[in-house]
Amino acid sequence: MSDTGASVLRARGLRKEYGKGAGLVRAVDEVDLDVASGETVAVMGPSGCGKSTLLHLLGGLDRPTSGELWLAGQRLDRMGERALARLRRDAVGFVFQAFHLMDELTAVENVELPALLAGRPARTARRRASALLDRVGLADRARFLPSALSGGQRQRVAIARALVSDPQVVLADEPTGNLDSQATVEVLRLFEGLHEAGQTLVIVTHDSRIAATADRLISMRDGAFIDETRLTGGSTGNLGSLAGLNGLT
């Protein structure tokens, strides 16, 4: 949990607007953000507050209306589509709420896809994909199609895929949105593991369990950051009393 690392992601005055005039919608409104290397940052907020839009901006999937954005030392808001694609390929891993796995590819074929699209040789990509599937605990399901996997397993495959290019930052958009509580725990463990290994994570979620894994929690409403909480350090209280073991007052 070092927060002395260099800033992997930096945003200043980030804005995203749709429409104009009376119909103007500010999806993201003057957001400033710094994410240090190895940090896990969670962004929480009600539906429609713009957190998914923010994540897409951070990953270069969408262009901001105004503002500055740096990722891995490069200025995103001035890049062309091609350069953005290259940056995404090498520096960013995405995890989506709907997993977005290819239905006709097996787990290992799904995981190796970014490497293949980056032009890596087939054998190297396959080897790396197998190693990552092992890391997320799905080595025995490598040849399964997504339809044969549970929701939690699918998301773990998606996380493995996000890691295949050894990205500087993993951006997760409601990773447990489509999962039941048990699957959520699976993903939770993974995120904790990634955090311990020093992976920088930015997670957008409305699940407080996932948010609780973060070092920092940012609350968002109507496109703007309204609150920031440092979750590391601070009291955790008497667990016993939480369970009602001290008797009732």
Partner: protein, 640 residues
């Protein structure tokens, strides 16, 4: 009643919301129906104009040719066949027939039972005409300035024969490129073109048994036995003056029968007697069918062309329908979710396509009707043009029926399938799967594609997802390639054939054929362009999710666009290659006289390469548009 209104409203709203695909569908079916209309209208074309010419010129029921000799060689090695060469031709005689014998024969013919009137005998001189630097063989019939009782050619420009003046048959005049007042020479003697006329007693230049064609009036050997002899009329003294020992006169007697329908019987009964003056009798029906050869020839070009165009249109429609199914599936789900029965759902889907098909049929009929006169001027020799009479109710019926069947056939299966999918899966099958069916898995193709560069990887995987659509694409490219190769084969024969036409005149038959083939090629190419764009657009729709994901994973838009274009080219190449044998076969079937003609390899290679390149370029347009769409909405589609 309420149901009809509901269906109508749903259809109307859908068409208004997405007019693009509807327009493409209409275009494709219109092209098919227009070509079909053209083909049907041209069927009944020429017989009428021949009848008109016959009536206008008081054409003969039987033409008798007397005093033919064996082949006489003359000119630049060009073998000349005098007019009545046939299986019963008399052995080459050295002594010329006397005028008395001619008169006797003519008299005998005019007195034969069933003959009402006769005219002639007219002397016919075989000569060489020179005009504007061109040389051609001509048979010049000697006539008097006064009208004959049977077969008086109708002068359409200038005047009838006069001393020193020559009247040319219309197609011959066109071929030579001369008009009234021009100077020509006949065997060296100067003549002035006094007029241009048409006749029902002979055939348009270059007449008879040319290739490719139907049946032959006179049995001439060889596939390229074009007679290339023109007709003209001069005064009788001028004709006799042209006779020489090497090229003696022959004579023509025109007969009118009491029963014109019995002309063939008359001809076989009285012709081909084994006497020195044995006349060759030609009934008017033979002339009519041969004169129709020109347009029939066009038909032999149009019919396979129309079929090709029709098939291509069906392929386009099928691809379009498949592409639209993506949108449909969700609407189906919504319709069912609000309580429509599968029957209603299928009805709505079909109603829309049938409506569009009817509109397209009407448009195609209109276009075909307007274009028919342009295409079917029935050989300049005949008076009259095809017009409304050929445009019968049955034509309209057939065209509409075809359009409806096309629309039905290609949307029925998807409609039924869409109606049968469960509501839940239909609603869920939004942009994720863009279709009622999940994509197929082909492990070997997937493994293979992993070794290819990124665009080929994407292209191959896209093809592997939808093998049926790839097959359709290949089929439609094969159809076009077939047409193109058939055209190339025709051009090959034209080259071979013009070798035989050493005198440099235009062969109007070849000209017409080339014109027709050009028109058909243009139609085919237009349909292919349409098809290619539709197929590419359908792929873009289907690949929406894949493209978005690929771009999120770091593929550049250019690579994605290249992948989509590759997905079109991969099935196109085998399709184009398949078109080669099919095209050669089609040409062999459509023009049986030629045998199997294989165009030069360089042409074929150019055709295959050109087709692939064109498909790739055409696919690039929708591909680029699709690849530049914003990624976020597509990937966020599942989150509300």
């Amino acid at each position: 009643m309420g149901k009809i209104r509901l269906v109508g409203r749903l259809v109307g709203r859908d068409l208004r919301r997405r007019p693009g695909p509807a327009m493409l569908l209409v275009l494709a079916i219109t092209a098919a129906t227009a070509t079909l209309t053209l083909g049907l209208v041209l069927r009944g074309v020429t017989n009428q104009p021949y009848q008109q010419t016959r009536a206008a010129t008081d054409g003969p029921d039987v033409v008798a040719q007397i005093a033919g000799f064996g082949p006489v060689t003359t000119g630049p090695g060009h073998r000349r066949h005098v007019r009545h060469h046939g299986p019963s031709a008399p052995a080459p005689a050295s002594a010329p027939i006397t005028r008395a014998q001619i008169a006797a024969e003519a008299g005998a013919l005019s007195r034969a039972p069933g003959v009402t009137r006769s005219s002639g005998p007219f002397p016919v001189a075989s000569a060489v005409v020179r005009a504007r630097g061109l040389t051609a063989d001509v048979e010049a019939e000697g006539r008097s300035p006064a009208p004959a009782s049977v077969d008086q050619p109708k002068v359409i420009a200038g005047t009838w024969v006069s001393r020193g003046g020559i009247v040319l048959e219309r197609t011959f005049a066109d071929a030579l490129g001369v008009g009234v007042g021009d100077q020509v020479t006949l065997n060296g003697r100067p003549f002035r073109v006094a007029g241009i006329a048409v006749t029902a007693a002979g055939l348009p230049y270059p007449n008879l048994c040319y290739y490719p064609g139907g049946s032959c009036v006179f049995d001439l050997p060889g596939p390229f036995a074009s007679r290339n002899v023109g007709f003209a009329w001069i005064t009788e003294p001028d004709a006799r003056a042209l006779a020489s020992a090497q090229a003696p006169l022959s004579y023509i007697v025109d007969l009118k029968l009491k029963d014109p329908a019995a002309a063939p019987a008359f001809a076989s009964a009285h012709g081909n007697q084994p006497t020195p003056t044995s006349p060759t009798l030609i009934p008017w029906q033979a002339i009519q069918s041969s004169s129709g050869l020109l347009v029939q020839d066009e038909q032999s070009v149009i019919s396979p062309g129309a079929w090709l165009a029709g098939l291509l249109a069906i392929a386009s429609v099928a691809v379009l329908a498949g592409g639209r199914m993506a949108e449909r599936t969700r609407r189906v789900g919504l319709l069912k979710a609000v309580g429509s029965t599968p029957g209603t759902v299928a009805l709505v889907l079909l109603a829309e396509n049938l409506l569009l098909a009817l509109v397209a049929a009407a448009a195609g009929l209109a276009i075909g009707w307007l274009a028919a006169p342009l295409v079917a001027s029935p050989g300049a020799a005949l008076v009259g043009t095809p017009g409304a009479p050929a445009f019968t109710l049955s034509t309209v019926g057939v065209v509409i029926a075809v359009a409806l069947v096309v629309a039905l056939a290609s949307t029925l299966v998807p409609a039924i399938r869409a109606a049968r999918t469960s509501t839940v899966s239909a609603l869920a099958a939004v942009s994720y799967n863009a279709g009622a069916r999940t994509p197929r898995r082909r492990p070997r193709l997937i493994a293979l594609s992993a070794r290819l560069p990124v665009p080929a990887l994407l292209g191959l995987r896209l093809v592997a997802r939808r093998p049926r659509r790839a097959l359709l694409s290949a089929a439609s490219v094969a159809i076009t390639a077939t047409g193109i190769v058939a055209v190339l084969a025709f051009h090959t024969t034209v080259r071979l054939r013009t070798v035989g036409l050493a005198n440099g005149l235009n062969d109007p038959v070849v000209d017409r054929d080339e014109q027709m083939l050009l028109v058909l090629t243009v139609v085919l190419v237009a349909l292919t362009v349409l098809n290619a764009i539709c197929a590419a657009w359908a792929t873009v729709l289907d690949a929406r999710h894949t493209s978005a994901l690929a771009r999120a994973l770091g593929t550049t838009p250019r690579q994605v666009a290249a992948g989509i274009a590759a997905a079109q080219v991969i099935p196109a190449v085998p399709g184009a290659l398949l078109g080669i044998p099919l095209g050669i076969g089609l040409f062999a079937v459509a023009a049986p006289g030629a045998g199997v003609v294989v165009p030069p390899a360089s042409w074929l290679a150019a055709a295959v390469l050109g087709t692939s390149v064109v498909i790739a370029v055409l696919a690039a347009i929708p591909a680029r548009v699709g690849a530049r769409r914003p990624v976020s909405p597509i990937l966020q589609a599942e989150t509300a």
